[in-house]
């Protein structure tokens, strides 16, 4: 079984240093970069699946050429190879373009499952993996909490998070899956893995390798940020001390004032 995992380099949420540059695009130099969290859960699940069923995991990234550094982290976890789509013309690419490019790049590879994060911590649109499924015309198994392929039968089952619990889905392979944190904690790369990652192949692709019609007509992204506002400030709150019964009364008084009780 071969699993291709889409891994996006994003600003490290733990560094808490995300900011926009002067062009109102994400300033990617402002923050250390990591593999997007939901992509990493998908990668961990993929690595466990090939351990159980045989095969290998590859990764697919669309990013500036510096994306190689973040891809090495994913290779160090155990992915065997990578594909990086890097092209200056993709700087600031909008979501429909990202979808077209990732789908075309995924189509250059052979795989049984294509996994992407449910959403990314920087863009947070949560639509790219579904969009790629639409471009490829393949079943979408989204919000996965558990992935159970049956390679012999060429089918895959996924527990999909629902409002009430989960739904058990089944589709033929190849299929597209969006990954969530419920898949489990990603492994830390071992020293051996980090060493091995240095020599694993990352295939570089440009738009010229992906066929025509990747970019919008005129080359301008129709989507753009007009401006940025600070989040609404909250009035200074009140601190409540004292004995628990008095504190409870004060909370209840507040809730009554706000017509919540």
């Amino acid at each position: 079984m071969r699993i291709l995992v889409m891994t996006k380099p994003v600003p490290d949420p733990a560094a808490n240093a995300e900011r926009l540059g002067a062009n109102l695009r994400l300033d990617r130099a402002a923050s250390p970069t990591v593999v997007n969290g939901n992509d990493e859960y998908g990668l961990e699940a993929a690595l466990q699946l090939v351990q159980a069923h045989g095969g290998e995991v590859a990764i697919l990234t669309m990013a500036p050429a510096t994306g190689v550094e973040t891809m090495r982290k994913a290779l160090a976890m155990g992915a065997m190879s990578g594909v990086l789509v890097a092209d200056d013309a993709l700087a600031g690419a909008d979501i429909p373009t990202t979808i077209r490019v990732l789908a075309a790049a995924a189509a250059t590879q052979a795989w049984d499952l294509l996994i992407g994060g449910l959403d990314t911590s920087d863009g947070a649109g949560g639509v790219v993996t579904a969009g790629v499924a639409a471009r490829l015309g393949l079943p979408l198994l989204s919000a996965a909490a558990r992935i159970e392929p049956d390679p012999a039968a060429r089918r895959v089952r996924v527990q999909r998070l629902s409002a009430k619990g989960h739904d058990l889905l089944e589709a033929p392979m190849p299929a597209v899956i969006s990954a969530t944190q419920a898949l489990g904690t990603p492994r830390y790369p071992t020293l051996k893995g980090i060493m091995a990652a240095r020599t694993r192949q990352i295939t570089m692709l440009t738009l010229a390798d992906l066929g025509a019609d990747m970019l919008p007509i005129g080359g301008q992204w129709p989507s753009r940020v007009l401006g940025v506002l600070p989040p609404p400030s909250r009035a200074a709150g009140r601190t409540v001390t004292g004995d628990p019964a008095a504190q409870a009364r004060e909370i209840a008084d507040y809730l009554a004032d706000q017509r919540i009780i």
Partner: protein, 325 residues
């Protein structure tokens, strides 16, 4: 050309999702501001009741009875029906920020190539172009974005508008399904309910949240008790989820649910930035924490310094006493 906005409704147990009613009113307000039309879409195995409920908020609802969604995933069918309405002149598609809504938005974006504006909390017009506000950068800023095109897909967050019924219910048009889903629809073999998950976190008016301070799965008994007394739903911080005390579906924050309830009440939640990204839009924030320096104090309307295992039961007793029982 005047816009025609399509609101993709969601159905839970035969009823219209509350969030869909909000987005309907959001769209009606937006159309009124720009002189456009609005149509709602309901796709369900038994759509009649939800379509009626949707029509209370919208001048026109297309209702599709699709047997295929009884035992197949919904989004590819809903996207195919939305696509038919696009072919008939819809210029903008509005979907919910839910797993289903994002799936529909993504499938349409991949199929149509339209620009997409995600996580809208407000919207307006600049000529033909829609302009939305959305929280970005883990809650550090609100971005105003647009698509310079007469078409766009917008995903809309809970709380973007109050659901407001129209003076007169809209017309309902029933249709037979397109029949061909946007992508092959995965089969649904089983739908598993987990205890206590009946009301979705995003739609709850009151959310009571347990963090690291609740110290174990038993501690969520107190969180659940307060949630029940306040007519609310239990949520959790990532620390509590990572510890395995409560399922991920309850997680609030950047990698979990984003909630904007009338009341957010937390017990033992420190309030890291990643958590705040999921709750700072709440109308009222009450936080109980024994650490006077917990970051959640910065955004709490009421910051209660104390042991949650003393304040929590005292609050439960106080709420019971005020209810007269």
């Amino acid at each position: 050309m005047p816009a025609t906005l399509l609101v993709v409704g969601e159905v839970a147990d035969g009823r219209l999702a509350r969030l869909s009613a909000e987005i309907a009113s959001f769209a009606v307000g937006l159309a009124a501001a720009g002189g456009g039309a609005v149509v709602g879409l309901i796709v369900d195995a038994a759509p009649d009741l939800a379509a009626q409920e949707f029509a209370a908020y919208l001048p026109r609802v297309v209702s599709v009875a699709s047997g295929a969604v009884a035992d197949g995933v919904w989004a590819p069918h809903a996207a195919a029906e939305a696509r038919r309405l696009v072919d008939e002149g819809v210029t903008h598609v509005l979907a919910s920020v839910t797993n289903d809504g994002r799936d529909v938005a993504g499938l349409l974006c991949g199929g149509l190539g339209w620009g997409i504006l995600a996580n809208a909390s407000a919207a307006s017009w600049d000529g033909d172009a829609i302009v939305v506000e959305a929280t970005v950068l883990a809650g550090k800023a609100i971005a105003r974005s647009t698509v310079d095109a007469p078409n766009a897909i917008v995903t809309v967050r809970a709380g973007a508008a109050e659901a407001m019924e129209l003076a007169k219910s809209g017309a309902i048009e029933t249709r037979v399904p397109v029949g061909v889903p946007a992508v092959p629809a995965a089969a649904v073999l089983d739908r598993v309910a987990e205890a206590g998950a009946e009301v979705s976190l995003e739609e709850a008016k009151v959310v009571v949240v347990g963090g690291r301070g609740v110290a174990g799965p038993e501690g969520f008994g107190l969180v659940d008790e307060l949630a029940a007394l306040l007519g609310g739903v239990t949520g959790a911080s990532r620390a509590a989820v990572d510890a395995g005390w409560i399922p991920y579906a309850r997680q609030i924050g950047q990698t979990g649910k984003v909630v904007r309830p009338a009341l957010y009440l937390s017990l033992g939640v420190s309030g890291a930035m990643q958590h705040r990204a999921g709750m700072q839009g709440s109308q009222n924030i009450v936080a109980v924490n024994r650490d006077p320096d917990a970051p959640i104090a910065e955004i709490a309307d009421l910051f209660v310094i104390g042991d949650l295992f003393e304040v929590g039961p005292a609050l439960a007793a106080e709420l019971r006493a005020r209810r007269g029982g």
